[in-house]
Each structure stands twice: as structure tokens, then as C-alpha cells.
């Protein structure tokens, strides 16, 4: 089972195929165009699902993240929805942190994607802009091992404090893991 559950072998070119599948367009609606103007390095892509609204994604560099998220917040994306992470293993940068924001007034969703390198998995915390990011960033740290700089309380949230490793990483095998309980290491 452990051999089978190692990550599916993935050739590099699937990423390019994925990017082709998503039409590369300049943001054509008013709000996103206003965001794109001061941030020339931010790449906007959109995906047209079969049903439902268009899904917009902005790919941001780590350096620009905070200023971009602040601008997005000012542009009317007042609702925090989600922070999650994806481990691409063989890609550079290795991780993606995906911030999901919602504008109720414009009925619009925006995914902000930040690439995070595997040898330096740090990214700025957005919990000072969206208070709701607090628990979500803790979860990403806990399960994926990405450090959020400036987070007020970056501790494990769903796993025990003594847990070793970050299970959602693709190089964390799904073999038999000895059950770890809090304090179990103390009694031996």
C-alpha cells in the first residue's frame, strides 16, 4: 500500500497543458482591470466552467502579495473565504498558496495564487487584512508546512503538537503511521 500511495508520477508538461486549458486573457471586467493596472506583474487568468460564473485567478509573487491583497480588499472583496495550499512536488516553485476572496457587492470571486518555493516555504500572512485567515493559515502550516510570516499564533491546529512532518505534502507517505498521542513520548 505504501508503494502505491506515493505520488502519482507526473510529467512536467501537464502543467503547461493545464495553463493552456485556462484561457490567458487580460481582465476584461472593470474591477479586475482596476486591479491589474497598478500591478503589472500580476498575471490574471480565467476559467470558464460548464455551469456557473467565470472563475478568475490572479497569480502574484510573494513580494507583492500583501500590497495586492490590500488593493483587492479595497476594491470591494470584503469577504474572506479560504486559504489552501497545493503541493506540485516537481514544479518550481513547489507549492501554491491559494487565497480565495469573495465580493458580495459585486457577486464576484477571486482566487489569488502565490507560488512558494520548496526550499524556503514562507509567505506573508494576510491575517492582518482578513481576520478570518488566522485559522486557515494555521491549517496550511499544520498540514502543508508553509510558514506564514507575521501570523500571530502559528501553531498546529488539527494535529497534535508533537506531530512530525506535514501530511499533505506529496513526499509524506501514506503508509502506516504510528498513532501519536499528546504526551505519548513522555512516558517512554
Amino acid at each position: 500500500m505504501a508503494e502505491e500511495s506515493t505520488p502519482q508520477e507526473e510529467p512536467q508538461e501537464t502543467d503547461e497543458a493545464a495553463e493552456e486549458a485556462v484561457a490567458r486573457v487580460l481582465p476584461d471586467d472593470r474591477i479586475l482591470a482596476g486591479l491589474a493596472e497598478p500591478f503589472p506583474n500580476v498575471v490574471f487568468t480565467s476559467f470558464e466552467p460548464l455551469a456557473g460564473p467565470r472563475q478568475d485567478t490572479a497569480t502574484v509573487s510573494r513580494e507583492e502579495l500583501i500590497s495586492f491583497v490590500e488593493a483587492v480588499n479595497d476594491a470591494g472583496f470584503e469577504t474572506f473565504i479560504d486559504v489552501c495550499s497545493v503541493d506540485h512536488l516537481n514544479r518550481k516553485p513547489r507549492y501554491d498558496v491559494v487565497i480565495n476572496l469573495l465580493s458580495m457587492q459585486h457577486t464576484k470571486r477571486l482566487l489569488i495564487k502565490v507560488g512558494v518555493p520548496g526550499d524556503d516555504p514562507t509567505v506573508q500572512s494576510i491575517s492582518s487584512i482578513y481576520a478570518g485567515a488566522n485559522f486557515y493559515e494555521r491549517e496550511v502550516w499544520d498540514l502543508m508546512g508553509i510558514v506564514f510570516e507575521g501570523h500571530p499564533d502559528l501553531t498546529r491546529i488539527v494535529l497534535p503538537d508533537e506531530w512530525e512532518g506535514h501530511p499533505l505534502r506529496k513526499d509524506y507517505s501514506v503508509g502506516s503511521v504510528p498513532v501519536q498521542f499528546k504526551g505519548s513520548h513522555k512516558s517512554s
Binding site: D15, A21, E78, V86, M104, G132
Partner: protein, 477 residues
């Protein structure tokens, strides 16, 4: 007398174990003694042992001046009603641990409460007691098997989980779903919303002392679960809504069953409102309790009925309609005050609106197939398997290897009974998801507990928590 161990003498005779052979002079330090005994021997604890055994590690409620969570609460992004009273000394505060096995926490939620008398000054929610690694599990299940996994996340609204997952997979596949399958999906998820809210009104009533509600709510939910069992074969965790459609068509005579549900639940709702809406004890326990402002709801990602009770006019069924729900008429109830009473009223009205949708589905159920005819996703009909070798092979491969989804990354959200349930699905072209992240509504609700509970009294914790309806399976996943 001599044989009975005399407990009154205390620990004078301890330790009962073999005295460990330590260093030359026979003295042992605390660690050596602990290793030698491997258990606690009463009377031998060193002060640091006690501290080790009871400390909370990273989850400890820190002293007030360095508590970072408190600084967020006081931050400018969210206006909070925290009032600091420096006149109260540290001696008058105590930390109360509530849960994880407290019956009113609806599962295994744990709260650190810092109390000043009976007033709550600080709250720290601690979760993870039900974490089962479902996101990791999903990476090792094919798209067809994945439904059995996600349906167990929010165990009170399994069909909504399945719908969200199926819609996400279908976005990647680009499969067209026939109208009848879409209508069945709406029918089942809206009935599931009613069933989930009925459980909520049952536990909510019980938690604040209206004990009969427990019986009534579960009794009415049973009518819906019986229908689910008839349609899907299971009362919970159905795996009924699957990528490509639904698992089976509705059984003969389903219209009569739905009519029966209308009779039972519809009259039940009237009874509950008669019982509760003008009950002075109920109103005292709920009015003005656990207030969540719209700004707080948005900043903390609280969605669904809890946010709508605060006046946030947002319903995914209206804003980002899915599975053809835009063709049915329904209203979105909104509250004004964001307190526990408004959350109750909003949920009661949501049940009526859901029944209204079900009524329209009943009247307009389109004929046709209950799953897509795309042979890539749908197994061949049973009859073809007997006739054709290729159909047999195809059937076998579909259930062993599964189908492959093209590479891509989608986010799909549906309005679950608790709020926005989203699935972030990443595919790299294989037959299993590369990554499945579930954005669950209860997680955000638990996170927002401190802003609602601060400066309330302890009994209001129960009322507030019950009115928010977090499902801990949904929180921890």
C-alpha cells in the same frame, strides 16, 4: 485490617515499586525516577512533572499581555466589544475548560474560557479531535470513489457534500448533466437542508432547555431519512450524487412520499413556532445573545444562515446558482440583529423555503435519464454487459481504474445548510485528484466564536454555540 491498603495514610508508603537503583549515593533526579517507574507514583512528583503533565503545549491560553489572538480581536479590521477592566486582579480570573466531551459542544469542540466571575473575557477554541485526514485520503481515491469520502465530512448534510464534489469533478470533465438528474439533485439537497435544520432545531431547543424539541425534531427528520433510505439505500452517507448524475432514479411512488413529508414537516414547523416563538424563557435566552455583526461575519468568513441572520444578503443559490436551482422560486430570509433569536428565525424560514423548492421540483420534475450518457463517466447499462464483451471490460475498467479527468484547477461552492461549502480540486490528468481541499462552513464558524462569546455569561455559550450549528466532522475533516 492488615491486608487492606490503608488509603488514609496517604502516600507515606509510596513508592510501592522496586526502588530504582540509581547513582552511587542512591539519589535520583526527577527524570531518572520517572524513567525508572514509568508511571506516576503518588507523592513523588516533582513540580515540573506536574507542569508537564497538565500543560497545553501550543494550545495554552497565554497570559493576556502576550496573547496574539486577543490582539487580533482588538484589531481595527473587526470591531469587537471587548472591554478591558484593569481594576480586576488576576486572582479573580479563572480559566474554565469546556469540552471536548461536553454534550453541548455538539461533538468534540473544546473551548478555553477565561472567566471573570461568570462573564467570559476570552475564548480560545481548540479543534482537531475529529481530524481524520480526509483531504489526504481523497488523493488516494478515484473520482468515482471520492464521493464516499466527502459524504462523511459534514455528516448532517451528506448530499450537499456529494453535490459539491460532483460539480467540481464535472467542471473538470466538462460533462453535461441531464435535467432530470439536476432536478433530483436539487430535490435531495433541499430535503437534506430541511433534515439538517430539523436536527439543528432539535439540539438547539434541547441545549437551551426546551427538551421536547429534541424528540419533535428527530421525529420529523425521520420522515426525510426514511425517504432517503428508500431512494439511496442508506439513511446517511449516501454516495448517491455522483460525478455524471445520481446513482439511481427515484423509486416508484416518490411523489406520495414527498407529500407525506410535506404533511409531517409542514405541520411540525407550525407547532414548533407555536411552542417557541412567544415563549418568554426562550426569548430571554436568545434575544441579544451571541451577536455577530455583518462586518465580523464577512471578515471571519462566516456564511450561510449565521451570516444572513446578521443581515448579510448573500446566498450562493442566488449569487452563483448551481445545478439549475435558478429556475425555482424561493426567498432568502434575512435577520436584522445577528443574535441567536435571528439565527433561529432565519433557519425556520429557510426550511419553509426549501420545502417550497421541493414542491416546485415535484411539480416540474422533467422526464429523461438520471445520469449523463457520456460513456466515459457512466457505466454501461446492465443489459449491455450480458451481451457485449466490450461493455463488460468497460464496466470493469471504470470501477477499477476509474475515469481520468483533464488537468486543471477548479473551485466549486454550494450552499450547504451551514454556509458556503467549497471544494478546491486540482487535477493533473490522472484518475485520482492531485489535491482536494474542502472549504467547510463550520470551520469559519468555530473561528468566529471568540468575537461572539466575549463579554457574555457562561450559559450563553451554550445558546450561541447551538444556534450556530457547527458540525465537528465538518470542522476537522
Amino acid at each position: 485490617m492488615s491486608d487492606t491498603p490503608n488509603n488514609t495514610e496517604g502516600d507515606a508508603q509510596a513508592p510501592m515499586l522496586e526502588p530504582p537503583t540509581g547513582s552511587a549515593d542512591g539519589s535520583l533526579d526527577a527524570d531518572e525516577r520517572r524513567r525508572a517507574h514509568d508511571i506516576w507514583v503518588a507523592g513523588t512528583e516533582e513540580p515540573d512533572w506536574i507542569a508537564n503533565a497538565t500543560d497545553e503545549g501550543a494550545q495554552e491560553l497565554l497570559p493576556r499581555d502576550i496573547d496574539p489572538a486577543l490582539q487580533i480581536q482588538r484589531g481595527i479590521a473587526v470591531d469587537d466589544d471587548f472591554i478591558d477592566q484593569p481594576t480586576i486582579t488576576e486572582d479573580e480570573r479563572q480559566i474554565l475548560n469546556m469540552g471536548p466531551q461536553h454534550p453541548a459542544t455538539h461533538g468534540v469542540l473544546r473551548l478555553h474560557l477565561e472567566l471573570d466571575g461568570e462573564t467570559i473575557r476570552r475564548v480560545k477554541p481548540i479543534i482537531g479531535y475529529l481530524h481524520t485526514g480526509m483531504e489526504k485520503t481523497a488523493e488516494n481515491l478515484t473520482y468515482m470513489q471520492g464521493g464516499t469520502n466527502v459524504t462523511r465530512m459534514d455528516y448532517l448534510s451528506p448530499l450537499n457534500n456529494e453535490l459539491c464534489y460532483s460539480l467540481a469533478v464535472e467542471q473538470l470533465l466538462g460533462v453535461e448533466i441531464p435535467p432530470r438528474a439536476q432536478a433530483i439533485r436539487i430535490l435531495m439537497t433541499e430535503l437534506n437542508r430541511v433534515a439538517s435544520h430539523l436536527i439543528w432545531v432539535a439540539t438547539f431547543g434541547m441545549d437551551i432547555g426546551a427538551l421536547s424539541m429534541m424528540i419533535y425534531g428527530f421525529r420529523d427528520r425521520e420522515a426525510i431519512l426514511a425517504f432517503f433510505e428508500k431512494v439511496t439505500g442508506l439513511r446517511m452517507n449516501h454516495n448517491y450524487i455522483r460525478p455524471g448524475g445520481v446513482a439511481a432514479d427515484l423509486p416508484e411512488g416518490w411523489e406520495e412520499d414527498i407529500d407525506g413529508i410535506f404533511d409531517i414537516v409542514g405541520s411540525g414547523l407550525d407547532d414548533y413556532e407555536d411552542l417557541l416563538n412567544r415563549n418568554p424563557i426562550f426569548l430571554d435566552r436568545t434575544r441579544g445573545v451571541g451577536v455577530l455583526t455583518p462586518e465580523e461575519a464577512q471578515a471571519y468568513g462566516v456564511t450561510g444562515p449565521a451570516a444572513r441572520a446578521s443581515g448579510v444578503n448573500f446566498d450562493l443559490r442566488k449569487a452563483f446558482p448551481y445545478s439549475g436551482i435558478e429556475q425555482y422560486e424561493f426567498d432568502v430570509p434575512l435577520g436584522k440583529h445577528g443574535d441567536t433569536l435571528d439565527r433561529y428565525l432565519v433557519r425556520m424560514e429557510e426550511m419553509r423555503q426549501s420545502l417550497r423548492i421541493v414542491q416546485q421540483v415535484l411539480e416540474t420534475m422533467p422526464p429523461g435519464d438520471y445520469r449523463t450518457d457520456d460513456r466515459k463517466v457512466t457505466p454501461p447499462p446492465r443489459k449491455r454487459i450480458d451481451e457485449s464483451m466490450e461493455a463488460l471490460i468497460h464496466h470493469f475498467k471504470l470501477f477499477t481504474e476509474g475515469f481520468k479527468a483533464p488537468a486543471g484547477e477548479v473551485y466549486q461552492a454550494v450552499e450547504s445548510p451551514r454556509g458556503e461549502l467549497g471544494m478546491h480540486l486540482v487535477s493533473k490528468g490522472g484518475s485520482k485528484p492531485w489535491r482536494l481541499h474542502a472549504r467547510t462552513p463550520s470551520f469559519a464558524i468555530v473561528q468566529a466564536l471568540p468575537v461572539m462569546l466575549t463579554d457574555q455569561i457562561v450559559p450563553d455559550v451554550i445558546a450561541t454555540l447551538a444556534s450556530l450549528d457547527p458540525v465537528l466532522g465538518d470542522v476537522d475533516r
